[in-house]
Symmetry: C2
Subunit: 378 residues, 2 copies
């Protein structure tokens, strides 16, 4: 193999491909990145057997070939090389890298020992702007369950059941809170052919690590994202990269049942004010079950308080527009902070119930994202 | 105690006083900060029995008093309060904090349980610009010994023996490398009276943690620093703060003996080029005794290389102006990087010897800082 490409492109590729974390210590080759020339130039690939990331960069191929090299070492070298052309050449299992006065030789491992990436022939069923999908994923990430006792909620549900009504829904929950984001899709970006192939498949569950990888890698601006689903795999293609991931098997809970329809009180509050008051309450909550108490009263004030015996207590009164009856309700401050941090806009609506039913928070301006939170019972 | 001051001032004070790390788990009150009203306003103090930091902020005292509160909790609250006036009031051992809708009560501990800060009556013997002293300390920090087997080199030597020639010297070493920074002082900033009191004391050793604290806290611009030495203590007064520290006892090695006078070869190299080449070599050095090999040759090139068996090797040729004979010498890349990172300016002079004598690096433009490094023997 012999190829010439630029340091800048290699570095960008490795910043994406090199982030796939290998949890598999029994297969050390997974700590390597696969380099492979093809018609377009150089393909860099990395996998941990759950996710595979491929990235293509342009280059002048002088001799076809493939090899794997230790990812971290290779990425460290490349990122410290000066900008300009980099020549990569293999001689048996040695990889020679030349760039502007630097010569580096790294011992590689035969590419045939690298696990094959599954080939997916299915057609993309959906095109969506990368940046919109990225922001949506980042809003639902915090509520993904971290407990492995119920694997089906350790990922994000991608609900396609209303795709014919031009919307898809992303959902996450850990049973204490639930985040739901609805995205509009344009009919011309939905492939009818692909949908027919999917048939009865109305939703898939994307693992947390894949969601995190997407949030890291998806671009902004005009970049479009293609999504392909095929059996137990999902593929995201964007820019010069694709990410291929297994799906989580199992039945996601029926989240629509959880969304409350009636509320006892409703408060419209400045996001900065409530976030700050909840954060301050958190300093005492940590030693008392994380609880922060809300008091919604007819005088258009929300009183937010917390207490830690032997340490102290605090209390903040903030302005709000309140309708409904006076209400006292206790939340987990961490869960509340996660929800508030996902709100886009200056004002948040808190649709609240007492300790027996969940509350909902959403942006005043944009109800495509709702965050449902269970109160702490007294 | 009752005082009104601003959130901004309190926050600034706590960002300095709150950084003193308590290593003493048997005296939990050291995790608290002492609040004490005085004529000027509020004094905040913190100590770990090695260093004491005091900071004064202006305020409107309505009732004199003093109390201690948990530093981290108090600092967290203050930093999250909105800008504006903060009222601090004690009621027995409870501290009430009020600010713009927020009410916080923290349980405090009687100030009489807090260790007394020693009073120092001595006169400052030296005034120097804070930013100059700060930069000088940051240049010598990396070479301070971390091994506790020789306590006398676990700090920075402040050598006053040439203060009458209007210079002081800061020195650090871990016996593998030595950093020496000479600072000019103006005669009008040296107190003859204080020097007489010091008498035969020609140098003191300032503990590493105090040096780190100073580098963090010293200001920039026109701020001046006063230094007071008294028996086993040193006091640094600057802005609204003072830092009081114990000194390290013991005899610092005679560093002047170590500075080599003769060199076999001399290279003038671009700092960015050499730093990058050494950093790249470091990726292989890590698994081979941290060694990086320098080859100075008559063709005005420095060749920097490293090797790790079973992993690979690398080699960089960079331009240099070389005089003297061809020379091969091996350094510890970490020690070399520390020295290069402390060089101010675009070009570095490497005065090199073979494996039997130390090399010296310094800036082409400024020889007030020199960094001596022992080669690794083959």
């Amino acid at each position: 193999m012999k190829i010439i490409c630029t340091q800048e492109n290699l570095n960008k590729a490795l910043s994406i491909v090199g982030k796939v974390v290998n949890k598999n210590t029994t297969l050390p080759i997974l700590n390597n990145v696969l380099l492979k020339t093809d018609k377009k130039g150089l393909q860099l690939s990395s996998t941990n057997l759950e996710i595979a990331v491929n990235y293509w960069i342009g280059g002048k191929t002088e001799e076809d070939g493939e090899i794997t090299v230790p990812t971290k070492l290779f990425a460290n070298f490349i990122s410290n090389l000066p900008n300009g052309n980099v020549e990569i050449k293999t001689r048996e299992d040695m990889v020679n890298i030349k760039c502007n006065g630097y010569k580096i030789n790294i011992k590689g491992v035969d590419a045939r020992e690298y696990p094959l990436s599954p080939k997916i022939d299915a057609v993309p069923f959906l095109k969506i702007k990368s940046e919109i999908f990225k922001r949506a994923l980042s809003q639902v990430i915090p509520a993904i369950s971290v407990s492995e006792s119920r694997m089906e909620i350790t990922g994000v549900l991608l609900d396609l059941s209303e795709i014919k009504k031009n919307k898809i829904v992303l959902v996450s929950t850990d049973s204490y809170r639930l985040a739901e984001k609805t995205l509009k899709v344009s009919p011309e970006n939905v492939s009818q052919e692909a949908l027919e192939v999917l048939g009865d498949l109305k939703s898939v569950i994307i693992p947390r690590s894949t969601v995190q990888e997407l949030v890291r890698d998806l671009g902004e601006g005009d970049e479009m994202l293609d999504i392909i689903i095929s059996e137990n795999q999902i593929v995201f293609t964007f820019g010069s990269a694709n990410i291929l991931s297994r799906l989580i098997e199992g039945r996601y809970p029926d989240y629509r049942q959880i969304v409350p329809e009636k509320f006892m009180a409703n408060a419209i509050i400045n996001v900065k004010d409530i976030t700050n008051a909840v954060r301050i309450s958190g300093f005492f909550s940590a030693s008392s079950n994380n609880s922060v108490k809300f008091l919604l009263s007819a005088d258009n004030k929300v009183e937010i308080s917390s207490e830690a015996s032997e340490i102290g207590n605090n209390n903040a009164k903030i302005e709000a527009k309140i309708t409904g009856k006076d209400l006292e309700v206790v939340y987990n401050y961490k869960y509340l902070m996660d929800g508030l941090n996902s709100i886009i806009g200056d004002e948040v609506v808190l649709d609240a119930n007492d300790e027996n039913a969940p509350s909902v928070i959403k942006s005043v301006k944009d109800d495509s994202f709702i965050y449902i939170i269970m109160p702490i019972r007294g």
